[in-house]
């Protein structure tokens, strides 16, 4: 059985990377007492698919993972959601558990875009930021270089807006970036174009948009 979990990842888990998150899910499922399925072969690994790597330091509000469980355990006292939540480490909150088609395509091939909210930890000039956004969105293309490869950042930016923030943080930047395999926009690249040092912000990924969203 293939379970699709939507979860948030925050607190200390902001600093847990993609590979470590994989092991974290493996242990969480074991603690929940659910029989995780393993791949065949000489080095069997747990069948776990994460939708999209969340960069270190980002908060994830609606991350997605698929877990394969061997059969349905006979009559559970609790729902999968309750079982898995009670076995989760601090910082991990499960918002939904759905059963999906075992043979549906790999989760990471289904992601098309991702939405982010950026909070500024230090004061920024709203007018300068607004001007920067206008310039960025008005550009025909934005050639950038990353790890020795040139790409066009502009074509990966689907939405970019300034919003009023909360409490002591006066403004927030919302963006939707492409997150397809081989065409993934990175919020810190957008921030760099806008002249904002990455370490003076807190970034949350608020939504992963799938090609064929499941109905809940």
């Amino acid at each position: 059985m293939r379970l699709r979990l939507t979860f948030s990842k925050s607190g200390a888990l902001r600093y847990t990377g993609h590979l470590d998150l994989h092991s974290l899910w493996e242990r969480t499922v074991r603690r929940a007492g659910l029989p995780l399925a393993y791949t065949q072969g000489f080095h069997p690994g747990p069948k776990i698919q994460l939708a999209s790597a969340l960069p270190l330091g980002f908060i994830g509000r609606a991350e997605i993972v698929d877990l394969w469980i061997i059969d349905s355990p006979t009559s559970l006292d609790q729902s999968y959601k309750e079982l898995l939540q009670s076995a989760s480490p601090p910082g991990l909150v499960i918002s939904a558990v759905d059963v999906v088609d075992e043979h549906a395509p790999a989760l990471q091939t289904q992601v098309v875009s991702a939405e982010y909210e950026v909070t500024f930890l230090e004061p920024v000039s709203t007018s300068m930021l607004a001007a920067g956004i206008t310039t960025l969105l008005g550009a025909a293309n934005l050639p950038r270089e990353r790890r020795g490869k040139t790409y066009d950042l502009r074509s990966l930016v689907e939405k970019l807006e300034l919003h009023p923030g909360e409490g002591s943080y006066p403004s927030q930047l919302h963006m939707r970036l492409a997150a397809r395999e081989g065409a993934t926009g990175r919020p810190e690249e957008v921030l760099d174009v806008l002249g904002i040092p990455f370490e003076t912000t807190r970034i949350e990924r608020t939504l992963l948009i799938l090609r064929n969203p499941i109905k809940t």
Binding site: G11, L13, G17, F42, P44, L56, G57, P89
Partner: protein, 647 residues
């Protein structure tokens, strides 16, 4: 002092600039975060190496769990920041803080350092400095935390005597509670200046009280006198409360095992849960400090171990379980234990490790019961390659036993055998070292008969360092030239893709050698070496050897005095006043036997009166039965207790 909120804010600005920021944020499953305001005594346990290594330290996990069970105390943790993080902490004004609540370490009442090995000493100073706490015990005031340390290295506390207020000698489970009780009592009448400060205390009064707890050593209450030749004349207490000899703590019955292990959110060196099968060892290998200082052998029952393993795996979801002991094969019910663990966890994708197996075919059968798949390596530790040398070190097996075991391992599908050896044993010659290479080749030949070209041998060859409280505490360390000649011989002999050879650099050996048998004068060397810029001395790519040699020169001390010198039979050792209760006379007799190649029996086969039983006769009487491996004490209670000899 910064508040936790201020520290948190500054941290968020730097964490993404360092490697593996997950080391510095805590938040692990099973971490215990108590309300800071709610408890009277606040303890921080400190491991002076990085998180990746310290998190799996069993001793700290046990103490963390125990102290947090008290409603009147809390325990939090800190590890050494890696060099990138330390630089950013210093430049951002972030003091060393606890992972649980982000309080500066200087705000705690007690800091407990874990010192399992000597190469953590400079990191200990560095961490005190990063915490803003005076390095020297004598410079600390009523507003500073009490600095204590425990762990195997503390069986010779003298090199660190200037920096640690009180050492715990031996097992910590009971004594940590007694220390907290004393701190609580002495600080009781005081009130805090602020909630982010430790309770003020009259340190002299506190330390006098602590010196009266069995197993606690307070170095400032002892005076050391030296002879003209730099050896020690005498070590004497300067106050009536301090005992002439500090006798180690030993739990007559092992407490229930800790099972709520911290689950790190990042990958670490040993990502596993551990259950201690037994403490102590009956073998009496002459090079082995652990085997002497952890006596007597006390075993847990199969039932207790299996139950703890189940609880630990359920509480952590861990994929690896380690059954710990100094000599797994010697556990009385090893076959039953392994069978039950194997049945319980088969098919659950759990790797079970069983370290330190005896070199015989039974061990291969034991491992087979634990393995879902046979892959990877099988480790054996012959330690020496000739029967003569194995008699000298009192770890006797025949070559044929080793070869037969190797045959069995390869024929059951393991492709790689790792063999642990040591060079530099007393009276070793190049012929003995040549024998290591020859034996590796003979083992490989066995593998080739079964597996052909797939067979592998990994020789792990470390260099022997004489340790306090062992029969070899009198002997000299090989010189760097001798070590290099031996290593070059092995490198030359063990070439080719079927062999892998690993060894210890001679500099690392010297450094550990100086620190292991150092006296009080070594404290200034440690301080100066740290000032000269060395830290992370257990890391070959970090430690700076020249920082040490110039520190010796500045103190006008000859490093060879500590390493390249055979001690006189009547020499007073720097650790003479620290007793693991194995008598010095017994150790010396054993050393003499090694010189004529006589082995000593395993003490399960008969008691050779090492000194444990006279000291702990009352405990043995209270806990009769098979779980102690010493003979039972039949004599009535009240019999005159024999004082433990030093060393």
């Amino acid at each position: 002092m910064l508040s936790p909120q201020q520290i948190d804010t500054r941290l968020e600005r730097i964490l993404l600039k360092v490697q593996k920021p997950g080391r510095y944020v805590g938040g692990e499953l099973n971490a215990i975060v108590k309300d800071w305001e709610d408890v009277g005594t606040r303890v921080a346990f400190v491991f002076p190496d990085i998180y990746d290594i310290g998190i799996s330290n069993l001793g700290l996990q046990i103490l963390y769990d125990l102290v947090n069970q008290r409603p009147d105390a809390l325990a939090e943790r800190a590890y050494a920041p890696w060099v990138d993080m330390e630089d950013l902490m210093r430049s951002s004004g972030i003091p060393l803080y606890s992972l649980e609540t982000r309080h500066p370490l200087a705000a705690f009442d007690i800091l407990g350092f874990s010192l399992p090995y000597e190469t953590l000493y400079t990191n200990t100073l560095n961490m005190l400095d990063l915490a803003g706490i005076p390095l020297r015990s004598s410079d600390r005031t009523s507003a500073d935390p009490l600095i204590i340390a425990g762990g195997h290295a503390c069986f010779n506390p003298e090199p660190m005597h200037a920096f640690i207020d009180a050492f715990v000698i031996g097992e910590g489970e009971e004594v940590i509670q007694e220390i907290i009780d004393v701190v609580k009592k002495v600080k009781g009448q005081n009130s805090r200046a602020s909630n982010h400060q430790p309770l003020p205390v009259d340190r002299e009064l506190l330390l006098r009280e602590l010196a009266q707890i069995q197993g606690v050593y307070v170095p400032r209450f002892y005076e050391v006198k030296y002879h003209q030749d730099d050896t020690i004349d005498s070590i004497t207490p300067t106050i009536p409360e301090a005992p002439r000899v500090v006798i180690k703590r030993m739990l007559p019955k092992l407490p229930p095992p800790t099972t709520r292990f911290l689950v790190p959110n990042i990958d670490v060196v040993h990502n596993r849960v551990s259950v201690e099968v037994m403490r102590g060892c009956t073998r009496g290998c002459r090079f082995c400090q652990a085997g002497m200082i952890t006596r007597p052998v006390r075993e847990r029952s199969v039932e207790e171990i299996v139950q703890a393993a189940e609880e630990a795996v359920a509480a952590t979801g861990s994929e690896e379980l380690a059954l710990l002991s100094l000599s797994s094969s010697d556990y009385t019910d090893i076959l039953e234990l392994v069978t039950r663990i194997g049945e319980r966890f088969r098919g659950k994708h759990l790797t079970v490790s069983l370290p330190s197996l005896r070199i015989d075919t039974v061990s291969v059968e034991l491992m087979e019961k634990l393995k879902d798949r046979r892959s990877g390596g099988f480790t054996l530790a012959p330690e020496a390659a000739t029967e003569r040398m194995r008699r000298i070190i009192n770890k006797f097996i025949t070559d044929e036993q080793l070869l037969e075991t190797a045959r069995e391992i390869y024929s059951r599908g393991w492709t790689n055998i790792k063999l642990y050896f040591m060079i530099g044993h007393p009276s070793e010659t190049l012929a003995d070292v040549q024998a290591i290479a020859d034996l590796c080749k003979r083992v490989l030949a066995e593998g080739r008969k079964v597996l052909g070209g797939k067979a592998r041998v990994h020789a792990g060859v470390s260099t022997f360092i004489p340790k306090p409280h062992t029969p070899f505490q009198w002997v000299s360390v090989d010189t760097p030239d001798q070590i290099r000649a031996k290593q070059e011989l092995l490198m030359h002999e063990l070439r080719g893709s079927a062999f892998k050879l690993s060894w210890t650099s001679p500099e690392d050996t010297l450094l550990e050698g100086w620190l292991s048998r150092g006296d009080r004068r070594m404290a200034e060397v440690i301080y100066n070496a740290w000032k000269n810029g060395t830290k992370f001395d257990a890391w070959q790519d970090q430690r700076r050897f020249e920082a040490w040699t110039s520190a010796f020169a500045a103190q006008k001390l000859d490093p060879a005095f500590y390493t390249h010198r055979t001690r006189r039979s009547d020499e007073v050792f720097p650790w003479e006043h620290i007793s693991d209760t194995v008598r010095k006379k017994y150790l010396y007799a054993d050393y003499q036997r090694s010189l004529d190649g006589t082995t000593r029996q395993d003490c399960r086969e008969g008691c050779d009166a090492c000194g444990i039983l006279p000291t702990f006769a009352a405990s043995r009487r209270e806990f009769p039965g098979i779980y102690w491996k010493c003979p039972e004490v039949k004599s009535p209670a009240g019999e005159k207790r024999v004082a433990a000899g030093g060393g």
